[in-house]
């Protein structure tokens, strides 16, 4: 068993477990922290797939910024105590779990049906593709289709910043 396999099996168990804990636990702060664990596991998956740059960005953006924002809002609205939102037992829950398990089975079954074409990747090529240089060269290469979406993304982020400020300032 290679190092990648060992890492994959351990981390996949951890990530699935903490994802389940996220939706099982009643306390929003705990769900957020469980989700952070899942995100960190995903970052390590990226490293295992030799996407180093994405792993770093995943930790910085998701774990370092987005989840901190979540925790902030939870603490700000004082939803930290479990009594804040009482989850009543409804008919919705068992149906949702049943459908969810059905969905898992469906997805795995559909993947068992198809066979992926033979892998075309060579180890040294994929290893280089994860680096900052490779990503930057593709992102800013005018011959590739990524430059325009990249510019659009900046506008999207600007709109989001303005939207968030307007939302926070407005007195309703």
């Amino acid at each position: 068993m290679s190092g990648e396999s060992v890492g994959f099996w351990i981390l996949s168990l951890i990530s699935v477990f903490s994802a389940i804990m996220m939706i099982v636990t009643k306390n929003p702060v705990r769900s957020a922290l469980n989700l952070v664990i899942t995100f960190l596991c995903v970052a390590v998956f990226y490293i295992l797939m030799s996407a180093q740059f994405l792993a770093a960005v995943q930790v910085i953006v998701y774990a370092g910024a987005i989840m901190v924002l979540f925790l902030f809002v939870i603490m700000l609205l004082n939803l930290g105590s479990p009594e804040a939102l009482i989850e009543k037992g409804t008919i919705q829950k068992p149906i949702a779990v049943g459908l969810g398990i059905f969905f898992v089975v469906l997805l795995i079954w559909s993947q068992a049906l198809i066979t992926l074409p033979q892998a075309e990747s060579r180890a040294e090529v994929t290893q280089f593709q994860g680096t900052v240089e490779a990503i930057g060269l593709s992102l800013f290469n005018p011959k590739l289709p990524w430059l325009f979406p990249f510019e659009i993304t900046s506008i999207l982020l600007l709109v989001a910043v303005i939207g968030a400020i307007v939302m926070a300032k407005r007195k309703v």
């Binding site: 702060v29 180093q52 770093a56 960005v57 910085i60 774990a63 370092g64 902030f72």
Partner: protein, 439 residues
């Protein structure tokens, strides 16, 4: 003269059948952790003595000569303190929080560039291996990621303690960390734009150059070539302010403002758990000072390329520079009063962030302008820092332009060396990368 001593620092590649270069990362790991854990008590002592000097007091003077063993006594005291635990806390989070704080701050040391170790291949080809635990492509991003994870230790401690002071301290600390991370990142981006790499030892290498053509060899990699002056001083100022705010030290120590918040997020922690937060704070100080040294102050490079300086190995220079950063921390703590919370946020968002953004544009424009000028007037090349940033061995490009057009994700094949060093021992990996303009 120089050559006379230089051979002392060159090691053979194989020593009794042991491949020495592959041992280097392990040495770096042991060295980093050992250094951090042994310097910590000293650090506290240094801080107290320097502070006492500045405030004209005598400082620690009871335990050991000149109070040297005071920190040891403190550690022993912390060991034997009762581990008090408040009621109604979130038990597991309360216990995990200190360890997260320590782990994230110590592990950030992994990519700091300590030194280049010179080896000699059996056939006489010299090569260098950086003394770094993980000489990874994303070195700088890794440190930033680890420092952004430090928020969790603080937030979890503040939230799980079930205490208003702790919660307020935790919220303040995380708000401060998030807002100053931006300014810090922008200041570092200025350097990245100039160095052209995120790999910290490459950033150090790009400071090891001549300041202008025909400069005496004494100036190679000297103070004049470091990025604090080459990025026109403003980024280093922004970074230094941001790094002090990042580590929650005076004058930005609002999260632990004892006059208003008791002790902030670690109010409810006693004994060794408190000691762990303390450790995390000091280690974070060392790490951000180390990053400052590597990015702006030449890292392991000596200030002048002459004999008494070059004889001192690189990691000692690194430690000296880190200690300079620690001294600066203490200096500020001894002189400046604490900022108000709104003043802190104003400084971060309304001053440092715009300055950083504008300066990034200036640096990028400067780089571009120099390239254009060199194209127009080749004589300009003699005035700017010599050697290309991020040099790569030029390789014969056999692909025709039509081929390069067609294959978008298979650019023209160019021999690409992983590390810019020509005599690299690592497996020569041929990778595909379009040829870069080397000036």
């Amino acid at each position: 003269m120089l050559e006379k001593f230089n051979h002392l620092f060159i090691f053979p590649e194989y020593f009794h059948g042991v491949h020495l270069p592959s041992l280097v990362p392990y040495i770096a790991v042991v060295g980093c952790v050992g250094f951090i854990l042994t310097i910590l008590p000293m650090l506290i002592w240094i801080e107290r003595v320097v502070l006492a000097l500045m405030q004209d007091r005598s400082g620690p003077n009871r335990v050991g000569p000149r109070g040297l063993l005071q920190s040891t006594a403190d550690v022993v005291k912390l060991f034997f303190k009762e581990d008090a635990r408040p009621k109604n806390i979130d038990v597991s989070l309360y216990h995990i929080a200190p360890s997260i704080a320590v782990i994230t701050s110590i592990s950030a040391a992994a990519t700091l560039p300590l030194q280049n170790i010179h080896f000699e291949h059996a056939n006489g080809v010299p090569f260098t291996v950086p003394l770094t635990a993980g000489n990874v492509n994303i070195g700088l991003l890794y440190i930033l990621a680890m420092s952004s994870l430090q928020v969790y230790g603080v937030v979890m401690a503040g939230w799980s303690s079930n205490n208003k002071y702790s919660l307020l301290g935790g919220l303040r600390a995380s708000a401060q960390l998030i807002s100053y991370e931006l300014a810090m990142g922008l200041a570092l981006l200025c350097v990245i734009v100039m160095a052209g790499s995120l790999q910290l030892n490459k950033i150090v290498d790009s400071q090891n150059i001549l300041p202008f053509a025909g400069a005496p060899e004494i100036l190679r990699g000297s103070v004049l070539c470091w990025f604090w002056i080459r990025s026109l001083i403003v980024p280093v100022v922004v970074y230094t302010i941001a790094m002090i705010a990042e580590t929650n030290r005076a004058p930005f120590d609002l999260p632990e403002a004892e006059s208003e918040l008791v002790a902030g997020f670690h109010t409810e922690y006693t004994s060794l758990k408190f000691a762990m937060f303390f450790t995390a704070e000091y280690v974070a100080m060392l790490i951000v000072s180390g990053l400052n040294a590597a990015m702006f102050w030449g890292g392991p490079l000596p200030p002048l390329n002459v004999v008494p300086f070059t004889l001192i190995p690189g990691f000692v220079w690194m430690i000296i520079k880190i200690m300079g950063g620690v001294f600066f921390y203490t200096w500020l703590r001894g002189t400046l009063p604490r900022l108000r919370y709104d003043a802190l946020m104003n400084l971060g968002w309304k001053r440092l962030l715009p300055i950083g953004l504008v300066w990034l544009f200036i640096i990028a424009g400067m780089n571009l302008g120099t390239d254009l000028l060199i194209e127009r007037y080749p004589a300009v090349k003699n005035l700017v820092p010599q050697e290309a940033r991020f040099t790569e061995p030029e390789a014969p490009s056999s692909a025709s332009p039509g081929q390069a057009d067609a294959a978008a994700d298979e650019p023209e094949p160019v021999q690409y060396n992983a590390l810019s060093n020509p005599g690299q021992p690592a497996i020569p990996i041929s990778r595909t990368l379009p040829a870069r303009r080397v000036r």
